[in-house]
Amino acid sequence: MAAQLFFNGLVTGLLIALPALALTIVFGVLKFANFAVGSMLTLGAYAAWVANVQLGLPLFGAAAIAALTVAGAGLLADQLAFERLRARGSITLLVASMGVSLVIENVCRFFFGNASRGFDVALSRPIRWEGIRINQEQITIAITVAVCLVLVDALLRFTPLGRAMRAVADNASLAAVRGVERRTIARLTWVLVGALLGLAGVLAGLDRAIDPLIGWNYQIPIFAAAILGGLGSPLGAVAGALVIGVAEEMSALVIPTNYRQVVSFSVILALLLFRANGLFGAKAARK
């Protein structure tokens, strides 16, 4: 039982890792907490659903469409809202991101209603291994996320774009002096983040039913993971996501499952009180 929960927790953690990474990258490069992560994930799930169920594409192609759709939505939100408010500080930006979140969530609700939907995928028997049940979906999630994480890590570490993003995150003025175009970097950041959130939406849709609140349900775990890792630290976000995933699933052993979400909230609160910079250290969270 405990081993099964631990395994489920790792998969949930991997699922949260992508949006947590997206949140932390936006925070690092653009300096605000994007409260629209959840709704962008929802948009990804619906985009993939349309491609998969209505257009009959295989899930792989649907995932690509989801990634492109959310990347486009991210660019649009940046162009129409975030860029115009950039000079007004992070409080304004995070309130605006809440507004963007409402818009995206309700665009999805407008077109698809409140009904639950699922992808058109063949049901398959779970594999048993050492007494642990492993679903096909869980394997898909784990492999996809692992590949994404390696790619994002390589992108941030080794490519000129990654270097430029880290430079802007570190010191935007200095990066500008060295000829790094902040505006271009911001746009490319949204493309990357949108792709991650789109994929996360597809994986979330494999894990549970797709409805307009699918992303909102992950909102607090995502933030908990990113804060646990230290907002702005990509590696930390992934580690934080695994910890949150395992903690949420394992909590079923001690508290009623209805209160699973409280775990993430308690982690955030405890962490901010006792170790405000996250487990992996980041810029100060306290004033």
Binding site: F35, G99, G113, F223, I227, P256, Q261, A276, A284, A285
Partner: protein, 306 residues
């Protein structure tokens, strides 16, 4: 038609109370609270559960006090945090409140909600018409809270809060206890949200968890942004115009027949989101900008003048 206008007026009163509270916390003190709905829900449930036992006035006071106490507690824990973190902590608090209400059925009756909440002056209402009495009650309550908060905004406390919002470091260098002032702002705001929740419960006489979604928080932000951050008069204008707009969109259904109920509510909520962003971009100072208060208006005339 009259009955419909009365309904809107009462809804405006509730929205304005919530907005006034957020305007104190966010507008004047600069503290983001994404858990507004949690405090409103606490007030509503406290009022619903206590009114049959102790009567409406003690119940309403208890609703405000409980909400204020929890607000102060949350602030004690988290108000030192940088705004991004405060935002997520308060959002999480709102969700926790919702979970508790949903799952602690022995107290809150879970998803079924609490029916038959007695209204204040219900016996008076029977003789002259319930809503007529209730709107006087709601407007009276709004007037009292408005005057209290407006007085607070003009008091040294309000000035200190705005000083903190504009520059916390300077304010603390001038000897103000920034931490304590922020906790107080949060507590007072929490109290007003609790009272707003109680009014909501009395008006509907039935509450359930589905009434307390994060949308309530979004309305409050919209009202504050529309009215003008920090301006209480603006807040009333903002809350009024938003409710008018929201109620107006109800009639869209008659104009555009293809839209169903879910789509209509999605449209309204999406408009709120778009409205928040647009107003932040196009009219950040709001409809009624916060009055610029100069030192000369505040200081005693001893200075000798110009």
């Amino acid at each position: 038609m009259i009955a419909y206008l009365v309904t809107i007026a009462i809804l405006v009163c509730v929205a304005a109370l919530v907005g006034l509270a957020l305007n104190l916390q966010w507008g004047q003190a600069g503290l983001v609270n994404f858990g507004v709905v949690g405090f409103v829900a606490i007030g509503a449930y406290a009022a619903a559960l206590l009114t049959p036992q102790v009567g409406w006035l003690p119940a309403m006071i208890a609703a405000g006090a409980l909400s204020a106490a929890l607000s102060a507690g949350l602030a004690l824990l988290s108000i030192r945090l940088e705004e991004n973190y405060l935002a997520i902590v308060t959002l999480g608090f709102g969700e926790v409140v919702r979970l508790v209400i949903l799952n602690e059925g022995w107290l809150t009756n879970g998803a079924l909600g609490i029916p038959d909440i007695p209204r204040p002056f219900a016996s008076l209402g029977e003789s002259i018409g319930g809503d007529a009495v209730f709107i006087v009650f709601a407007l009276g309550l709004l007037a009292i809270v408005f005057l209290a908060l407006e007085g607070m905004a003009r008091s040294p406390f309000g000035r200190a809060l705005r000083a903190i919002r504009d520059d916390a470091t300077v304010t603390s260098a001038l000897g103000k206890n920034v931490f304590l002032l922020r906790v107080k702002a949060f507590a007072v705001g929490g109290a007003v949200m609790g009272v707003a929740g109680a009014l909501h419960a009395y008006y509907l006489t039935y509450i359930d968890p589905s009434q307390f979604t994060p949308i309530v928080t979004a309305y409050a932000f919209m009202a504050v942004i529309a009215g003008g951050r920090g301006s209480n008069v603006g807040l009333l204008v903002g809350a009024g115009s938003i409710m008018a707009l929201l109620e107006g969109t109800r009639f869209l259904k008659d104009v555009i027949p293809v839209i169903d109920g879910v789509q209509l509510s999605a449209l309204r909520l999406g408009l709120i989101g778009a409205g928040i962003v647009l107003l932040l971009i196009l009219r950040p100072q709001g409809l009624v900008p916060e009055p610029k208060r100069r030192a000369a208006d505040v200081l005693p005339k001893a200075g000798g003048g110009r």
